[in-house]
């Protein structure tokens, strides 16, 4: 084969010196441009060229003026008494003060459930889980927390830690079962706690949902929306894939109609029209429940699309394998496919939850007193005239903290637990 290239190679082989051979051990040089790493970092990331330097200076000026404006407002101009005076109303709305212990009791339970879940799903404590677990303690240390709130927050922290430790006694499988059961039961129990019983003189008299409000209501609406929309969304997602044209058409229509219209129109419908769909014999549903139903019906359409995305991510081989092992259609879906699909979409569900929490502000437009609605109500009080900036900034801050911390925690848990990963990647 070499004959194909006559005399070229031969000629050159003689003409060229062989490249110098150097020994790696004797010829290791230090990295170029060693020196102060901080200075080098600044040069590379802020002043790498003339244009870069100009950008850096503009950014610094912008940051300086923005920060000065913001700090001046926060510390000098803003009058924060509107927040400190109304913090209770902002948190719980018009919920009667003598019954507030029921909310705290619910939060003790929540602390316990967080503790159990952290123990059940995490092999060991790491920075993220500790940060999540310590939220009550962090809140207790906040400057504007009242004495009463502090004590309760510390009790939540203790309950949480106790639940964590007690769960450690159980085996791995038992822990997870306990965590799942408790988590599912929690929302109905909590709502029952808030609502109470019709018995006037009993220990837990009825607190009508019209009185629920503030942050409590916002979080409750979003949580109820996500939890109840999940089963509905699964049904819709499966229905959409059905071979029966009537069923799939019905599901597709529902999903597309709901996703095609603004949430506010669904809330209006829930508020006005839900009553029309119910039998006359039943008593009228109260407003909070109507809004909860509207939110659930709204979220279900989005949840259906999330679940569908998860189902599509499952490789066909999984279906084949399930059949080959003799699973029936429905059983293979329930035992093999759905658990995998749901595991994949957990992070998407979390971000849907965050989105829904932000969207619940719309209920203020149909007359509910969620965090924003309560804020508006406070501002309509002549005593607090002209404090709108303080109130809205505070509410915005709460939403921002909730949303970012949840997004952060979800990201970290995703990494730690390996949930949300695609099937192929986890192999």
């Amino acid at each position: 084969m070499r004959l194909l290239r006559p005399n070229l190679t031969l000629r050159r082989r003689m003409a060229l010196p062989v490249a110098p051979v150097t020994d790696p051990q004797t010829n290791v040089l230090p990295p170029a441009r060693e020196g102060n790493t901080a200075l080098r970092w600044i040069k590379e990331n802020l002043f790498s060229s003339l244009f870069d330097s100009v950008l850096t200076i503009i950014s610094l000026l912008f940051l300086f003026f923005a920060l000065r404006l913001a700090l001046d407002w926060v510390f000098n101009l803003a009058q924060w008494d509107v927040i400190t005076e109304n913090i209770n109303i902002l948190m719980k709305g018009a919920y009667p003060s003598d019954q507030v212990w029921r909310i705290w009791l619910g939060l003790y339970l929540l602390g316990a459930i967080v503790g159990i879940n952290l123990r059940a799903w995490n092999r060991e404590l790491n920075r993220t889980t500790i940060a999540i677990a310590a939220i009550p303690l962090i809140l207790a240390l906040l400057p504007f927390a009242s004495e009463n709130a502090r004590i309760n927050l510390i009790i939540i922290q203790v309950t949480s830690a106790a639940a964590y430790l007690l769960t450690s006694i159980l085996g791995d499988k038992r822990r997870r079962q306990l965590a799942a059961v408790m988590s599912i039961l929690y929302i109905p129990v909590f709502i029952l706690l808030l609502e109470g019983f019709t018995d006037e003189d009993g220990i837990m008299p009825l607190v009508k949902s019209d009185l629920w409000g503030g942050l409590l209501l916002s979080v409750l609406l979003a949580t109820v929306g996500i939890i109840f929309s999940l089963p509905l969304g699964i049904v819709l997602a499966l229905g959409r894939r059905s071979r029966q044209p009537a069923i799939s058409a019905l599901c597709i229509t529902y999903i597309e109609v709901v996703r095609g219209v603004p949430l506010i129109s669904i809330l209006f419908m829930g508020n006005i029209m839900l009553q029309l769909f119910m039998p006359q014999s039943l008593p009228p549903i109260d407003r909070v429940v109507r809004v909860m139903m509207a939110i659930t019906l709204f979220t279900a359409a989005y949840m259906a699309e999330i679940v569908r995305g998860g189902l599509q991510a499952i490789p066909k081989g999984q279906y084949d394998a399930a059949y080959a092992l003799g699973f029936s259609g429905l059983k293979s879906m329930r035992v093999i496919i759905l658990p995998q699909a749901l595991r994949i979409v957990i992070p998407v569900i979390v971000s849907q939850f965050i989105g829904l929490l932000l969207d619940t502000t719309l209920v203020a437009l149909v007359g509910l007193f969620d965090l924003l609605g309560i804020g508006q109500a406070i501002l309509s009080n002549p005593n607090w005239l002209g404090r709108s900036q303080e109130v809205y900034v505070f509410i915005g801050l709460i939403y921002w903290i909730l949303a970012t911390s949840m997004a952060f925690a979800s990201q970290r848990l995703e990494k730690n637990l390996g949930v949300g990963r695609n099937y192929d990647e986890s192999q």
Binding site: T56, S59, R243, I247, F268, L276, A403
Partner: protein
């Protein structure tokens, strides 16, 4: 997929869904019959509206029919969403590119922007901006004035006032010049395209198009004796007269929806540019392309395919979000139909059905465009 439903399950589900629909429907019919004794009818659309609308692109008085009020609302919705989507795309692209900057500070500022505006409810932002900032603007008499006297812009708690031109006699001639300029620009662009196709090097067609249009517009304006009479807003007594006005409700809604949507668009743009494989840039560099041509010929055409689909769904979202205008009294389609008309007529089922149908139509048209776009990409991929 079908095999997942046992036949018994399938038929029972079918039965159940029919039963439940029937249950709901019969409940509604009984309720409507017994409670209100008004059958569903859309005749009220022809009744006179009985209310006035401040913000309207077409003539509207309180004696006009209700369906015309709905049209006014729809036009107001489009006014905000079309301007807003264009502005949000610009701002979002700018911030997305900032996010990709190698400059640490620039990238972090863009990150902070995205993080903040994605994690605050847009309704809160809207109410904050309208109530706590815009309404605290000074009264008309003490309006803030910019660029006086060349191009005076008045900002007050009643709106934003700016100079505007009204046509004079020479306007009709100027219109012809503009038309001629447009035709010329189209012609030149067409020839440039042809030339580009023949030689293989495509010139910057849209740039030439814009330059020609601009030059003709300016030339015509200079040559003709004032085709437009510019009236400047000025304080006269308790009012500002002259020029044109845009309401604070419009600005508030536009502003907030733009900064909110831009945060999402920025992420989409960033993801789009990052989605183009590193090797593409390297291969183009190895072939000797300049960095401008790498961007124009290799990176952007590929990034756009990734960016456009989410962009279309954000555009749908933007249009749906204009319904937040209700909160600050901007008379968009939802505020007029679901607010004013519903309250005035009490026809809940009818108005809400119309609302659903209108938004659904908008969404369906947008999805149709999206599907067409996706299919075109599939063909050329």
């Amino acid at each position: 997929m079908s095999a997942f439903y046992g036949s018994s399950i399938r038929s029972s589900w079918w039965l159940w869904s029919r039963l439940s629909w029937f249950f709901l429907y019969s409940n509604m019919v009984t309720a409507l019959r017994t409670q209100k004794e008004v059958p569903i009818s859309y005749d009220f659309l022809h009744d006179t509206a009985g209310f006035n609308l401040g913000e309207s692109a077409i003539a509207f008085t309180c004696t006009d029919p209700i369906h015309r009020a709905m049209l006014v609302g729809l036009l107001n919705t489009f006014k905000v969403s079309i301007t807003g989507i264009a502005l949000a795309t610009l701002l979002g692209t700018f911030i997305g590119v900032m996010r990709l900057s190698t400059n640490f500070l620039v990238s972090k500022i863009a990150w902070a922007y995205i993080n903040v505006f994605r994690n605050i409810p847009p309704l809160l932002l809207l109410i904050f901006w309208y109530r706590a900032v815009f309404l605290k603007l000074p009264r008309v008499q003490e309006a803030i004035v910019f660029f006086d006297p060349v191009f005076p812009i008045y900002i007050a708690n009643r709106g934003l006032f700016f100079p505007w031109g009204t046509p004079t006699e020479s306007w009709s001639t100027y219109r012809w010049i503009l038309l001629a300029g447009f035709v010329l620009a189209v012609f030149v662009a067409y020839r440039l395209r042809q030339h580009g196709k023949r030689t293989g090097r495509m010139p910057l067609v849209s740039l030439w198009f814009a330059v020609i249009l601009l030059v003709v517009t300016l030339l015509g304006y200079v040559i003709l004796p004032d085709p437009l009479e510019i009236t400047k807003p000025a304080l006269k007594g308790f009012n500002i007269r002259g020029g044109a006005t845009l309401s604070l409700e419009f600005w508030g809604l536009l502003f907030v929806l733009v900064i909110y949507a831009a945060a999402y668009i920025a992420e989409a743009v960033r993801a789009g540019i990052l989605s183009v494989d590193r090797g593409q840039r390297e291969a183009a560099r190895a072939l000797g392309f300049s960095s401008f041509n790498i961007m124009r010929l290799i990176i952007l055409p590929q990034a756009i395919r990734v960016v456009v689909p989410p962009l279309i769904s954000y555009a749908i979202g933007f249009t749906k979000n204009t319904s937040l205008g209700l909160a600050i009294g901007y008379t968009d389609f939802f505020a007029i139909t679901g607010g004013l008309i519903l309250n005035n007529t009490g026809r809940a089922v009818e108005t809400l059905t119309i609302i659903l149908l209108v938004y659904l139509t908008i969404s369906l048209i947008a999805s149709l465009i999206l599907n067409m776009y996706n299919r075109r990409i599939m063909l050329s991929h």
